[in-house]
């Protein structure tokens, strides 16, 4: 049942989902760009894409895809984020009004990536 280790150089994708009421989306995106994005980039997170999708009649989910250049870069990002109180403050504020929020770390699943079923 052993899961093979990933090559250290394998990219890591981080996918955020933040579900907000429709009237909060533009404001939250502004906060995200002003308060979170610069620090995230300093922590090595490359902003790949931002999407939005309806999440019901009055809500929208913002999907944010980040790329890190490797697993050790992922751990370095984790350590830097944990040491920055602004990061915790940003998410605590978000969680105060977001309807739902998730984050997942993802590995490539393309053929040859070393992933076995």
């Amino acid at each position: 049942m052993n899961t093979p280790a990933s090559p250290a150089s394998e990219t890591v994708s981080i996918l955020d989902h933040v579900t907000l009421t429709n009237d909060q989306v533009a404001w939250w995106l502004g906060q995200f760009h002003d308060r979170y994005l610069p620090g995230a980039q300093r922590r090595g997170m490359r902003l790949e894409r931002v999407w939005r999708s309806p999440a019901g009649r009055d809500a929208t989910t913002v999907h944010i895809l980040w790329i890190l250049p490797g697993i050790r870069a992922f751990y370095a990002m984790r350590g830097a984020a944990a040491a920055d109180p602004e990061v915790a403050a940003f998410w605590a504020a978000t969680d105060g009004y977001a309807l739902e929020r998730q984050r997942r770390a993802l590995q490539p699943a393309e053929a040859g990536s070393g992933v076995s079923a």
Binding site: V12, R78, A81, A88, Q107
Partner: protein
């Protein structure tokens, strides 16, 4: 398990403790005091005032025979107060499953901290043995079961994280087994 600034003092009663194994924390360790001791004792052993003793109650453990020197690694962590029992059980289950995914983990033990051992903020110890340092610093860290699954319990950016950010991650060489087959919690698998 004891975090200490040095080895047991000559003449100390600790030297007679069953299973005593001690060594200097290796570079890359974080949150230690310089040395780590492992020993078994019915009561609180005689320790230097600066030492931090953590009494452990194994939840589950696994024994894998390994000859020769091995890396003994201990992660001390604190689960947030108020974490629901079902969430705590899921977290512990995820840790216990790590040896099934990460082949370099040899013997291992997940323990809860026994408050009878004295005042401490730690709630759990996650211990493993490895044949090489690279088994810990390579495979253990790079396995996706670790960074893409278990790590979410530790990541303060993720809703549902339950582990406080302050950790002690210490590892050292041991000439002989520390996590043995008579450890409480060793299962048939």
């Amino acid at each position: 398990m004891v975090r200490a600034e040095g080895p047991p003092a000559p003449g100390s009663s600790v030297l007679a403790a069953p299973g005593l194994s001690a060594g200097p924390d290796l570079p890359g360790s974080v949150g230690g005091l310089g040395w780590s001791w492992d020993l078994r004792a019915d009561g609180r052993p005689e320790l230097p005032a600066s030492a931090d003793a953590i009494a452990l109650l194994p939840v589950r453990a696994g024994f894998v025979p390994l000859t020769g020197p091995r890396i003994k690694r201990t992660l001390l962590l604190t689960v947030r107060a108020g974490t629901p029992a079902d969430v705590l059980a899921e977290f512990e289950s995820d840790l216990i499953a790590m040896p099934e995914h990460i082949g370099t983990i040899r013997s291992w033990a997940l323990s809860r901290v026994d408050p009878v051992g004295g005042d401490t903020a730690w709630t759990h110890a996650w211990e493993q043995e490895y044949a090489t340092i690279e088994g810990l610093t390579g495979e253990y860290l790079l396995n996706p079961y670790h960074w893409a699954h278990v790590d979410r319990w530790f990541d303060g950016e993720i809703p549902g994280a339950i582990v406080e950010p302050v950790l002690a991650h210490v590892f050292r060489w041991s000439r002989s087994p520390v996590l043995t087959d008579d450890l409480p919690g060793v299962g048939p698998d």
